[in-house]
Amino acid sequence: MHAAESMACLREVNVAEPLLEIENLSKRFGGIVASDNITLSVEKGELHAIIGPNGAGKTTLISQLTGELTPNAGRVRFAGEDITAMQPWRRSLQGLARSFQITSVFLDLTVLDNVALAVQAHAGHSFQFWKNSRKDPSIREPARAALAHVGLSGREDTVVSRMSHGEHRQLEIAMALATKPRMLLLDEPMAGMGPDESARLVKLLKELKNEYTILLIEHDMEAVFALADRISVLVYGRVIASGLPDDIRKDAEVRRAYLGEEKRAKHV
């Protein structure tokens, strides 16, 4: 009885624990401080958006989370484990999936091959030299499912270089989903999309929000305020505000640094 109680208690503690914790993260490029003592956390199940003007260091931050860049100082913890120095591929196997701001897919392969590779990466080692992987349902079926999830069914056999920009963005997300992640890091998924495509993607992200913890970097304010549970504002590598969408909207410093500028720019 007592043991069961403490177990339940433990489980509750786990749920309350953040999935991703960033502590005092700093990254300098020469004299430029791209990440200035950033501390933030993303709780399990939430969609945390990071906004900020161009050059605020958003992509630099994501790259340190995925391991492509190594921070000068600070720590990153994922699911309680310190991953600050972990190789990118190992982070992916731990369940941290990323989509790229500038589309980064396998242009000379087919759509299904692209997603199948993402599935394969998480299906044990790939030192299998003889069996035809294109006829392996244990890889192809989950890949088809991920494509269906993002609305790319029927495009399986298209060579990726022949697809539209919007479809590339969908493919980016399908590949991230195919790795069965515990958390998605989405770097400006709507970059370069038309209004219709953006609306479709917002709808998709609303669905994904229920299944995954998401860290979203996005320029499209309408989308961010429609989707985010919490928002952090990054300016010159520093988090100047972090909170609920309504609080962020009201925050004077944020308006001055970012939202106001954006509005002015729109009115001009």
């Binding site: 995925t66 492509e68 190789q87 990118p88 591929w89 190992r90 992916s92 196997l93 999936a97 990323r98 790229f100 980064s104 897919v105 396998f106 242009l107 000379d108 392969l109 091959d113 199948a116 590779l117 993402a118 394969q120 990466a121 998480h122 790939s126 030192f127 299998q128 030299f129 003889w130 069996k131 035809n132 992987s133 294109r134 392996d136 890889i139 590949m175 195919a178 790795t179």
Partner: protein, 314 residues
């Protein structure tokens, strides 16, 4: 599914039938010239297929692939010289030594990209070349004559027809192996790493170990080609691994079609026949061959195989 009866496939099938009939043709016209030429073509085609595995499918442009050709040849030559004529020992050892060298060279060169990778593979090949030049016990730069071809019990490799068919069978076996590899899970990793290595790491692949393994497999296959070459010429010399030979292999692959299964075979046949034919016309045969190669690179990016397939691959 696409039909398998395409113009390209008919040409490839015809080429294979032609290769199979070379000994008959040679016997019919009553001299060995064609047989000897085609034995050389088949052996170098194996080397070209091995280079295509890393270059065409894996995007690793090795400019030192003749090193493995030379290593395979020297293992056979040195063992023969030291009184170990058994092919059962010579050939496996040639493969193992080539593989070990590929492991060492790959482990260092695969940490670099692009031009640096090309230069490091070239540098290693040149180092091995000069080691061979300094082997005074084994003829230094004069080379080493092999008095007995590899002994395989009842299989008599000194019979030119038998030897030709052994080489051809090994070429087909190597093509089969490469075909299975490039369509396997491993092969998809290699292709993905060629296409976008950064993305491969982001979706969870430790790409280095896969590329290195591929590099070693390629070195082993090329070492086999070297062991065959030593038996064919009954002679090994540093010239087997001169950097121009590495260049020839690259030309064969590019000419035939990178990243195509039979492309390197077509390339080896075309390159060596052109070399032979043009050399008869003029001593300066490269003056004709050069522009031909340029035309292929500029106008047929999928090589001859790409042209046959209707330019869809280019």
């Amino acid at each position: 599914m696409k039909s398998h009866v395409t113009f390209r496939n008919i040409v490839v099938a015809a080429l294979l039938v032609m290769l199979a009939l070379v000994p008959l043709y040679s016997a019919w016209i009553g001299n060995n010239f064609a047989l000897i030429l085609f034995t050389r073509i088949v052996i170098l085609a194996i080397a070209a297929v091995s280079l295509n595995l890393i270059m065409g499918y894996g995007g690793m442009v090795s400019f030192g692939h003749a090193a493995y050709l030379g290593i395979g040849a020297y293992v056979v030559g040195i063992l023969a010289y030291e009184g170990v004529p058994s092919g059962f020992l010579q050939w496996p050892l040639a493969l193992v030594v080539s593989g070990l060298f590929a492991l060492l060279i790959g482990a260092l060169s695969l940490r670099t990209r692009g031009v640096y990778f090309i230069m490091i593979t070239l540098a290693f090949a040149q180092m091995i070349y000069y080691v061979a030049v300094s082997l005074s016990r084994y003829g230094a730069d004069d080379g080493l004559t092999i008095y007995r071809r590899s002994q395989f019990g009842g299989l008599d490799l000194s019979n030119k027809v038998v030897f030709y068919y052994v080489c051809l069978a090994l070429l087909l076996l190597v093509i089969l192996i490469v075909w299975r590899i490039v369509n396997s899970r491993f092969g998809m990793v290699i292709r993905g790493a060629k296409s976008n290595e950064r993305r491969m790491r982001a979706i969870g692949f430790p790409t280095f170990r896969y590329r290195l393994t591929c590099f070693v497999i390629s070195g082993v296959i090329c070492g086999l080609s070297g062991a065959l070459l030593a038996n064919h010429t009954e002679f090994v010399s540093p010239a087997d691994m001169h950097w121009t030979r590495s260049g020839d292999l690259i030309i064969m692959v590019v000419l035939g079609g990178m990243g195509s299964l039979f492309g390197p075979v077509i390339g080896a046949v075309a390159f060596l026949l052109l070399e032979e034919g043009l050399a008869r016309l003029t001593e300066y045969w490269q003056i004709i061959f050069g522009p031909l190669l340029l035309a292929v690179v500029l106008y047929a990016r999928g090589g001859i195989d790409g042209l046959l397939a209707g330019g869809k691959r280019g």
